[in-house]
């Protein structure tokens, strides 16, 4: 690297109560360079980025911009210096419109201190930004709460670009984006780096890192574990530095059950209120991982939520272990042995203001109750057990869940369901924001559960994960299940083809795999 780096941080240290999050980290980025920062959950990546963005103050260390030492006491100061952070956890004012969120804190105004909003100018500018990130312009005046997580993420990105940005920090920007939206993001990154913007890119999806980073730094336990450039950037190298050892089996599907197990969950012509008019039919077998692919907004989450009882049913039949089900409330779904690990863990998966232990116990209080009530000692022991079993990194069960790193929060959501030994697990983006090590652990867990005969319905936008874990894949497009692929015919192209609305195999595809409802016995039956 030659010349003055755009951004340089030197010896940053940050102590939280009970956790030394950063212990003397230094790094530098050149103008127009994409530097990826990787590391396990809790390694301190987000903390470092928040320090650079003026949200936290370091206990020690220095930040230099274009060679000059700067102090960034507030986010506003960092923004004024051209540093823009896209947060790992969505941080939007959901009661405001998309346009208002894009400009929140930096409204275009007239009239001096009156700060009279210039609505027209903001609308024009916002429309351009939305186009740039690939969000449909009709969303401009929608309240953000009505957007899907993927769309919210795009709003965050548009927000970051609205600034005269010199350093763009993206903390897991793709964790809720679909394949197509991710491609779009790469284009955005390519465009800003051409304009000389330095990009700091954090992701747990190592394939992405490999693809878009010029250089990778690895954090481990708050320290710099190593640095990779160019051809050194390989999956194995990164993993070795991150976890300090080789990870053998990454996708450990050992219990692949052939295609044998009995059908556990079956939807027949199922429709729900507010859903698409086309009914959905679907089967998940015991011991099987059914992958569900589709673009963001294809209606996968909605379908899962409806089956789980979050949305009211309209018609059709749902069978669990050959018994017809009628679910009006998640309580009934859980009683029947069906659980949901939701896509948006902070909103639907966790009581954020409560402790790790509280969250783990919540759905299992019946299990923990004796005639005299809950035994605190036993509860704590039980919580410890799950914390260890899932390797949740927390100083104690009493730690607030909101203070855990993203990946560890996700593990808490798993922990709270696994104790009940569910028959059907609906996993909506099961490893969103989870590091490689923990991912491998979660995959092993899924495999183990499948091995014990659970039926797993896994909704995912992570192509690697889909290809690595699913025994069978159904693809949704615009609210409909448009096709099914079994293991032999599963490929990225086939999935994308169906997900983008293609019905016939793409040219040159040898497989008949993309026919609707492809069955293992080789017979394509009528759709529906």
């Amino acid at each position: 690297m030659s010349g003055v780096p755009r951004l340089e941080v030197i010896g940053i240290r940050k102590q939280f109560p009970g956790v030394l999050a950063l212990d003397g980290v230094s790094l530098r980025v050149a103008p127009g360079e994409v530097l990826a920062v990787v590391g396990e959950n809790g390694a301190g990546k987000s903390t470092l980025m928040k320090i650079i963005a003026g949200l936290y103050q370091p206990d020690a260390g220095e930040i230099r911009l274009d060679g000059r030492s700067v102090r960034l006491p507030t986010p506003a100061a960092a923004m004024a210096a051209g540093i823009s952070l896209i947060h790992q956890e969505l941080n939007l004012a959901e009661n405001l419109s998309v346009r208002d969120n894009v400009f929140l804190g930096r409204e275009m105004t007239r009239g001096g201190w009156l700060r009279w909003l210039d609505g027209a100018a903001m609308r024009r500018q916002a429309a351009l930004l939305l186009q740039q990130v690939g969000l449909t312009p009709d969303r401009l005046f929608w309240r953000v709460e009505h957007l899907s997580p993927g769309e919210k993420q795009l709003v965050e990105i548009a927000r970051a670009l609205s600034l005269q940005v010199r350093v763009l920090i993206m903390d897991e920007p793709t964790s809720s984006l679909s394949h197509k939206e991710t491609e779009r993001l790469y284009e955005v990154i390519a465009a800003v780096r051409r304009a000389g913007v330095s990009v700091l890119y954090i992701s747990h999806r190592l394939a992405e890192v490999q693809r878009c980073a010029d250089r990778v730094v690895v954090l481990r336990d708050g320290r710099l574990a190593g640095e990779l450039c160019g051809t050194q950037i390989t999956h194995d190298n990164m993993v070795r530095l991150m976890v300090g050892r080789d990870l053998k089996q990454y996708y450990p599907r050992q219990h692949r059950s052939g295609r044998g197990g009995p059908v556990v969950l079956r939807l027949e012509q199922f429709r729900y209120q507010g859903g698409p008019d086309q009914p959905a039919s679907l089967e998940v077998r015991a011991g099987e991982v059914l992958g569900m692919a589709g673009l963001v907004g294809a209606g996968r989450t909605e379908l899962a939520e409806a089956v789980f009882g979050v949305r009211p049913w309209r018609d059709g039949q749902v069978w669990l272990d050959h018994r017809p089900l009628r679910i009006r409330h998640p309580r009934q779904a859980i009683a029947a042995g069906m659980v949901l690990v939701p896509e948006d863990r902070r909103r639907h998966g966790l009581v954020l203001d409560a402790s790790v232990g509280f969250n783990l116990s919540l759905p299992n209080l019946r299990l923990l109750s004796r005639w005299y009530g809950i035994s605190r000692r036993q509860e704590r022991r039980w919580q410890q057990h799950w914390i260890e079993r899932l390797r949740i990194r927390t100083p104690s069960p009493e730690q607030l869940v909101a203070l855990l790193s993203g990946g560890n929060q996700q593990k808490v959501v798993y922990g709270k369901w696994l104790a009940g030994r569910p028959r059907v697990l609906i996993l909506d983006e099961p490893t969103r924001g989870v590091d490689v090590g923990a991912k491998a652990e979660i995959y092993a867990l899924i495999d183990e559960l499948a091995g014990q005969g659970a039926a797993i319905w896994m909704i995912t936008s992570d192509m690697e994960e889909l290809l690595g874990m699913a025994d069978r894949v159904v693809v949704m497009h615009e609210g409909r299940i448009v096709g099914e692929l079994d293991r032999e015919h599963l490929s990225e192209e086939a999935v994308m083809h169906l997900a983008t609305g293609g019905r016939t195999p793409p040219a040159g595809d040898r497989h008949p795999a993309t026919l609707p409802r492809w069955r293992p016995d080789g017979q394509a039956d009528a759709a529906g």
């Binding site: 986010p75 506003a76 939007l92 009661n95 929140l104 930096r106 409204e107 009279w116 309240r143």
Partner: protein, 324 residues
Amino acid sequence: MSRILGVLGLLTVLYAALILSNPSAGRLDNLMDVANIQGRYGLITIGAALVIIVGGIDLSIGSVCGCAAVLFGVLMERGVPPAAAVALTLAFGLTVGLINGLLITQLRLQSFLVTLCGMFIYRGVARLLAGTVSRTRAVEQHPEFVESLQQLRYLLIGKDATGELLFPAQFFLLLVTAVLVGFVLHRTAYGRYWYAIGYNDQAARYAGVAVERHRVIVYVLCSLLAAAAGVLLLLDMPSVQSDSGGLGLELYAILGAVLGGCSLRGGEGTAPGMVLGAMVLPVLENLVSFRGLKSDVIPAVIGLTLLVGTMLDEWIRRRTHPRG
């Protein structure tokens, strides 16, 4: 926009019922009387609503209003000219708001607790200042105030020397305030920040908004409006008792704000909604008195109305499109 349809419907029904209930109820002078009360309620409702929008609550409004009325009277009795007394009383409101705001943002105390304490404290201060204050007594002691006091009364209340209501000045005051507040809320960056803070102060902070400062500003505005309502109270009424002046007004104000579309969760509410929400209660009270019902039924009727209003509001809200 749809957020105010519910309260608009409720008001229409109430006004129709009022006019049909009694021929004299629909007369202009009665409607002006009602409007005058609506104006005073409206001012405190706006204050309460702003606090609710930033995700807080202010329970001290009634006591601050009563205390301000008493302070205003005592100052005049001690020989402070009326205009100066108004200024000092408003300064009192400002100070109270500043204290509330700083306690809530700097010491991170909960707004409910801080203002609940304020509710007791300022009621106590009022009772320490005087048992009762009256305009006539102030004028007896200082005859030189007669003219300026009457001028104030004409300007702010709309009543002439005989006590007849010439025009609903308090309602006009409300409209002017609502337009100003509406401008800030809906047309400037400050309003944007208030909505963002109320819904998700973390998001606002991350966006570089000075969350604490804005919260303090809003509490100051709220107490300032409450003190202004206290001044109006003493200008309107012949006398104000320190133990009952403005008693329970905070609940009326919160109720008006909620009827007008503010969500107690924060981040919701519009200026027109606040005005409409504040208009409901005085009409209702007037209706009850014209129906010849005993004032004992007023609390029950108020409670029921609020319930119906919130149900209507929720029903409409569930039917709205993601836009807007």
